[in-house]
């Protein structure tokens, strides 16, 4: 298949174009800007027929408008980053609670203060409990593929939840790499037009998101059940996706795990570098593998536990931090393994905040520290980038 050189931002824009999003409310913010610029150019050039490209005054307004448009049955796309995502936060819960399958590309950037433009995952993971489906891509091909799949999963009547597709700022968003861009016909076959059963319509008044009393927890429970349902739907759509596009994805990405005694758990673009380091360490005889978390919500318990259960020691590499606790995914991995008959040792490493580069050498350093932890029988939780804090 012919490949095209595009950035992660452009890959997300291609996703929005190919799914024929009807409404794209937007507000620019680095490092998402190029995604919106690309869509703006296409819109001005008449290449997005039937799409209303709507420039707004803030991200709070963007998500509010997205909710309105999705409630009347439109397919909606938008994108944001960092502070913009935080400004949307309040409305994210409303989108999930109203069960609106909006898809949003989030382009990770560290949060102020102090200000950084470069990537870490705190902005994305801050939305962890919002009720949205949360997907995290490793490369630009996966960004585009995840946007296509996100609509199919989000719009499934068993799910009906909004979905976030995350990519790392700069390292993906501003990086050109070759990807396959499918034809509109292929995407139409995978994802027909959106025709929801329940919408607000002119002659059919309905109430969405009303005040409730005793019923509140029923709605929250339904949000939870819908999110759990998505685990099956994510797996179901892979057959169709592979048949049409020739690629297939799993709930988790397993790399050299078959005989791995040491496992690194990663997220996003740093996984690529970690895989390169693992290939080199394998040549040195170190039995190390990698588990990449690509579906953050719903949490794929069984897939994660299944992939990690035979490891002797695990390093959870968090490109984020919950101050006063540690890496955000570190306790999630420990919880997932807690009820196994034999529990591996789990150490946590906070790395790469504000775009601090994650090199192969740093990955090797973490692996050697993990070997020390295993020998000593004592896990650690530390900031790998810093000599002292």
């Amino acid at each position: 298949m012919k490949q095209t050189l595009v950035t992660g931002n452009e890959a997300a824009a291609w996703g929005a174009r190919l799914v024929r999003a009807k409404y794209i409310p937007n507000f620019p913010i680095t490092p998402q800007t190029e995604c919106i610029e690309t869509l703006a150019r296409w819109s001005a050039d008449g290449e997005l027929p039937g799409t209303y490209f709507d420039r707004m005054e803030s991200e709070h307004s963007v998500m509010s408008a997205a909710v309105g448009a999705a409630a009347v049955g439109s397919r909606v796309f938008t994108a944001t980053s960092s502070q913009g995502l935080l400004l949307m936060h309040e409305v994210l819960y409303i989108a999930a609670g109203m069960r609106l399958p909006i898809v949003m590309a989030t382009i990770s950037r560290g949060l102020a203060a102090p200000v950084t433009l470069w990537s870490d995952h705190n902005d994305f993971l801050d939305q962890r409990d919002s009720g949205w489906l949360m997907f995290h891509a490793e490369n630009n091909q996966e960004v585009l593929d995840m946007v296509l799949q996100a609509y199919r999963i989000a719009e499934d009547p068993r799910v009906l939840l909004p979905a976030m597709v995350n990519m790392d700022g700069y390292v993906l968003s501003f990086t050109d790499e070759p990807i396959n861009i499918p034809s509109p016909e292929q995407v139409e076959e995978f994802l027909p037009g959106y025709d929801p059963a329940h919408t607000i319509a002119k002659n059919r008044p309905v109430t969405v998101g009303p005040p409730v009393l005793d019923e509140y927890s029923i709605f929250r429970a339904q949000n939870h059940v819908a999110s759990r349902n998505a685990l099956n739907v994510i797996e179901e759509v892979q057959d169709d996706f592979e048949k049409i596009f020739g690629r297939r994805y799993h709930l988790v990405d397993e790399f050299m795990l078959e005989d791995a005694e040491l496992v690194l758990v990663t997220q996003g673009s740093m996984s690529t570098t970690a895989k390169a380091a693992i290939l080199e360490m394998r040549d040195e005889g170190i039995k190390v593998g990698l588990l990449r978390l690509r579906i953050i919500r719903p949490w794929p318990n069984e897939a994660v536990a299944g992939a990690l259960k035979d490891a002797k020691a695990i390093a959870v590499i968090d490109r984020n931090v919950a101050p006063g606790k540690g890496g955000i995914m570190f306790p999630e991995i420990i919880e997932t393994l807690y009820n196994l008959d034999r529990r591996p040792l789990v150490s946590g490493f906070v790395v790469g905040l504000g775009g601090n580069p994650q090199t192969e050498n740093k990955v090797k350093e973490i692996t050697h520290k993990l070997m020390d932890d295993l020998a000593a029988g004592r896990p650690r939780m530390e900031w790998n980038d810093l000599e002292e804090i």
């Binding site: 700069y170 390292v171 501003f174 050109d176 070759p178 690529t272 580069p357």
Partner: protein, 178 residues
């Protein structure tokens, strides 16, 4: 894998230059990755861009800390930035400068007066594309044909004359670089 790091100032086209080299190598059937690293876009501030070129899929990301070749678009950066940082011993530092600069590096240092060539051919100091002629000549990492294709592709929104002037500047820079 072949790695290129480009140093310039915001507005000088370091990002565009990386994109063009990436496109050219991609056209030649290589796996490529190009990207730029900058803060808030400030015209004149030091910026960097990068290209990785490989036969196999690229398993490296982000900042290039061990380049095979470093391109310096603006020699006034030499006092501000350690442009030779991490440069391979058998690598090359190629500076847009009238004279060969004195830089402490075991790598080979070359210079080409791309600003002069750009002023003579394009009539404007568009030295980012111009410098690529020297890159093609001295490293052979991309061909001049592939570069021409990349220039046409990347500048397709600009007037034909400007595209042709850029191609001429690249050709001239290719011829004089040594």
């Amino acid at each position: 894998m072949y790695k290129i790091r480009i140093h310039g100032r915001g507005g000088q086209g370091a990002k565009k230059a990386a994109k063009m080299v990436g496109l050219a190598a991609f056209k030649m059937g290589k796996q490529v990755q190009d990207f730029a690293l900058y803060g808030a876009e400030r015209r004149g501030a030091p910026v960097m861009s990068f290209v990785r070129i490989n036969d196999d899929p690229i398993l490296e990301r982000g900042y290039v800390d061990d380049p095979d070749v470093v391109l310096v678009l603006d020699r006034t950066l030499l006092d501000l930035v350690n442009v030779a940082d991490g440069l391979a011993k058998n690598g090359m530092l190629l500076v847009n400068s009238e004279h060969k600069p004195d830089i402490d590096t075991p790598a080979e240092v070359k210079n080409v007066d791309a600003t002069r060539i750009a002023l003579d051919t394009i009539g404007k100091p568009i030295f980012n594309t111009t410098m690529l002629g020297a890159l093609a000549k001295l490293t052979q990492v991309v061909s001049i044909d592939a570069l021409n294709w990349a220039i046409e592709e990347e500048l397709s929104k600009y007037p034909k004359e400007l595209i042709e002037a850029n191609k001429t500047a690249v050709r001239k820079c290719y011829e004089v670089a040594k």
